[in-house]
Symmetry: C2
Subunit: 474 residues, 2 copies
């Protein structure tokens, strides 16, 4: 009979804390009747964010084209959405029920290229764009492409979104960790990058790519132009590819920060020899259409023979889901100012982004008032990576432990903290160890997606819990 | 700069003929204005099959719930579909825009279990069902789970659907080929299974699973109960898992054949110690909803600790797309006899299946009239695996070649045949070597999805081409 011993050891090693043990425990508690506030995952519509009307109307009509010619459509749908649905079906007459080309529908890839051009003022080649089932799948495809052997190393930030570490474990590659600088609002530091790649090479790892998440997950940090330039030069110097996870590009809350895409900056620098894979998604921003699994990769500076291999990889899985492709189309092609659905679209968009901004600010302000907690105010994304001070435990002497033992001990401690928080308050967050953190520091990641009133109550509960929790160390 | 040399060698080795070179050439020819008849892929709606109205109405209302309460909905939607849409949103109040549980929405998994119970008269456990982005992704997840190391062997039929060989290459596992018996309508042969597993073990391969495709792709064969029993006993004897690809279960055309699921037969045999992974999809049958990427795996006889690992794997990709989940729900929960949409549903279903049956019959009848071509009449699925006689080429002596050279030479020959067929007639089929075939035999796979009139014209073209092609050997 099959047991764990018979299984893929890479899978056994892979960990994905965002849906890990603490979340499983939350499901159990919820079944028992406890009210849970899910702050573990960036899943806006599960936390009462309403879908953008325009997106759903377009989906509705393209899924059921009969409705377009139904006389009632005119009463229930804005004229521009009806026209757009007709356009979608004229460009893709086989409809949503047929496999599309492996890379996605041609007209949508053209619309994505236009979106990038409008955003960045640079050319984008639709034949170098692949539509995928969310950004996660695009990222995993690129890892598959670039993983030459078990010594291939992928540089990932610490803290990072655990998709990266899980994928590296799963594919049996090597993770090269570089620490983000918490003191400097989580920016990347050149000497840290240099020393981490140097050490990796020394131990026989062959670096192939660097992952950068901007705006940051879990950090909420937005990278400056200078920081991005530094990273591009670093990648060029070491002849590695850049994986730019830019799924939170619409989620910028601070007036002092602006989103710069890697594509734009690379273009400004006139660099054409660093392979760049940029990822975007329909799951974040103000759409929050997580369930529809829409997203894409735009690829630059990659020879045709290499690009063909990633297309072949997509073809083995046939194509990404067509509803997700339509949502992606809606994202890159919103209503225009003179169109009927424009006003409502802007109203909904603004309300969502404004509320997110307010929640980010309140959360940071209130958390920083709590003794023993601190937070670099999120400039973007949907997360707060809250630092917590945990006093040393009596009878534990880190000096007698190996590095690995310390890391396990510390992961156990923040795991235990989050579990107690869940049990006592119903607040479900993810331990910092699930994302990685500097030794001897503790964090947890929480989304600021719950409704504003809940956030206030939540901070109060956090404070009460934390003070009570600390008592055990007195 | 990155070149093919820097890439994942497993990816470079993987081949997926269904979307391979010949199909790429077809796209080119189409761009140049040539009419192409795409018989390369089971993509019904790309070949004018209409979507089932019930499915699209349900999608339409669940994507845009505002319409449910719009007074006009009553005029444009059957009452049972409106009620079902309400039910879907009551069971899943967060809607289609949120990530679902990693395994899929709970109520849909329950509906799948009920569907299996109704189909087979056996119990099915919804907590052992995982909804996926089509069956392909479910199959790849199971390969990931069971692949312990690069010696892990997966037994696959020859001919096979190339997802299997491509996935094995991609994951760096070993393929253990077993030949289907063309003379006995492509059934599995016990002594062939025994000799192939014995030979694999001798060369150091550790068999972990056997893949069975029933109804067969590309063979169109439907397995008998006795054949299935033999396979189950074989798997038990050798302590390996069964991967039952049952995506064509609704596509049965011969009165003499009936679909038996592996789950049902295993239950009859009272066998509880052979892990069984059964796959189903919304892409085939009479739905043909390929683009929506819906499907599931039902899993039996697997310890909880092992099942948890496959759930963790799903969680790394978050969840399958929700529109595909709704289509899956529609598939397992069709309108009931007393419901308003029932009559239209049955009418559409019957028309599609009847036409497919007729096309399968006509194709087999006409092809068997062509000298130098033969076809075991498809009992199920959507494909004809046509055998073609190609005379020996002058000046080529197979006796001077190694086994590998012969295989490459023969693959080149049927590839060349299919390419010429495409260039001269516009008919796009896939060479038999893309699926595997016995040495010294040649085939191609074609779907019988094009409209009936096209099929007749197509067979005529095939005949003319074949006769002309043979002339070169005179």
């Amino acid at each position: 009979m099959i047991t764990k011993k018979n299984l893929n050891p890479n899978l056994l090693r892979a960990e994905y804390a965002v849906r890990g043990e603490i979340v499983q425990r939350a499901y159990e508690l919820e079944k028992e009747g406890k009210k849970i506030i899910y702050c573990n995952i960036g899943n806006p519509q599960a936390l009462k964010q309403k879908p953008i009307t325009y997106v759903r109307q377009l989906l509705c009509l393209t899924e059921y084209p009969t409705l377009i010619t139904d006389p009632i459509a005119k009463n229930s749908f804005p004229s521009d959405v009806i026209e757009k649905a007709k356009y979608v079906l004229s460009e893709n007459p086989i409809g949503l029920g047929a496999y599309s080309q492996s890379e996605g529908m041609v007209f949508i890839r053209k619309a994505i290229a236009q979106f990038i051009k409008n955003r960045d003022g640079i050319e984008s080649d639709p034949t170098r764009i692949i539509i995928t089932d969310g950004a996660s799948k695009a990222i995993q495809s690129v890892f598959t492409l670039l993983m030459k052997n078990s010594n291939s190393g992928f540089m990932t930030p610490i803290p990072q979104y655990p998709l990266y570490s899980a994928t590296i474990e799963l594919y049996g590659a090597k993770q090269i960790k570089y620490y983000l600088d918490e003191e400097k609002h989580w920016e990347l530091n050149e000497s840290e990058l240099e020393s981490s790649i140097k050490e990796a090479k020394k131990s026989g790892i062959e670096p192939v790519a660097i992952v950068v998440i901007n705006p940051g997950n879990p950090t909420g940090a937005v990278l400056s132009k200078e920081n991005i330039k530094m990273i591009i030069n670093f990648a060029r110097k070491h002849d590695i590819s850049i994986l730019a996870d830019e799924v939170y590009q619409e989620n910028i809350y601070s007036e002092n920060n602006k989103f710069y895409s890697f594509a734009k900056i690379m273009n400004e620098m006139k660099i054409t020899d660093v392979p760049l894979f940029s990822f975007h998604s329909t799951s974040k921003g103000f759409f929050g259409e997580c369930g529809h699994r829409g997203g894409y990769a735009e690829i630059r500076n990659l020879p045709a023979e290499v690009y063909e291999e990633i297309v072949k990889l997509q073809s083995i899985g046939l194509c990404s889901n067509t509803a997700g492709q339509i949502v992606t189309y809606a994202m890159v092609n919103p209503p225009k100012e003179n169109e009927e659905s424009y006003d409502l679209y802007i109203k909904e968009k603004t309300a969502i982004l404004k509320e997110l901004k307010k929640k980010a600010e309140i959360l940071a302000e209130e958390i920083n008032k709590i003794k023993g907690m601190s937070l670099k105010s999120p400039q973007g994304a949907m997360y707060a990576f809250v630092r917590i001070d945990l006093p040393d435990e009596k009878g534990v002497n880190l000096k007698n432990m190996t590095e690995k033992e310390i890391s396990e001990y510390e992961a156990k401690r923040d795991g235990e903290y989050c579990l107690r928080l869940l049990e006592e308050t119903g607040i479900c967050v993810v331990p910092g160890s699930g994302f990685g953190q500097k030794p001897h520091t503790y964090h947890f990641r929480m989304t600021f997606l719950p409704p504003l009133e809940d956030i206030k109550e939540l901070v109060k509960k956090l404070k009460d819990f934390h003070l009570k929790y600390l008592k055990r160390f007195e």
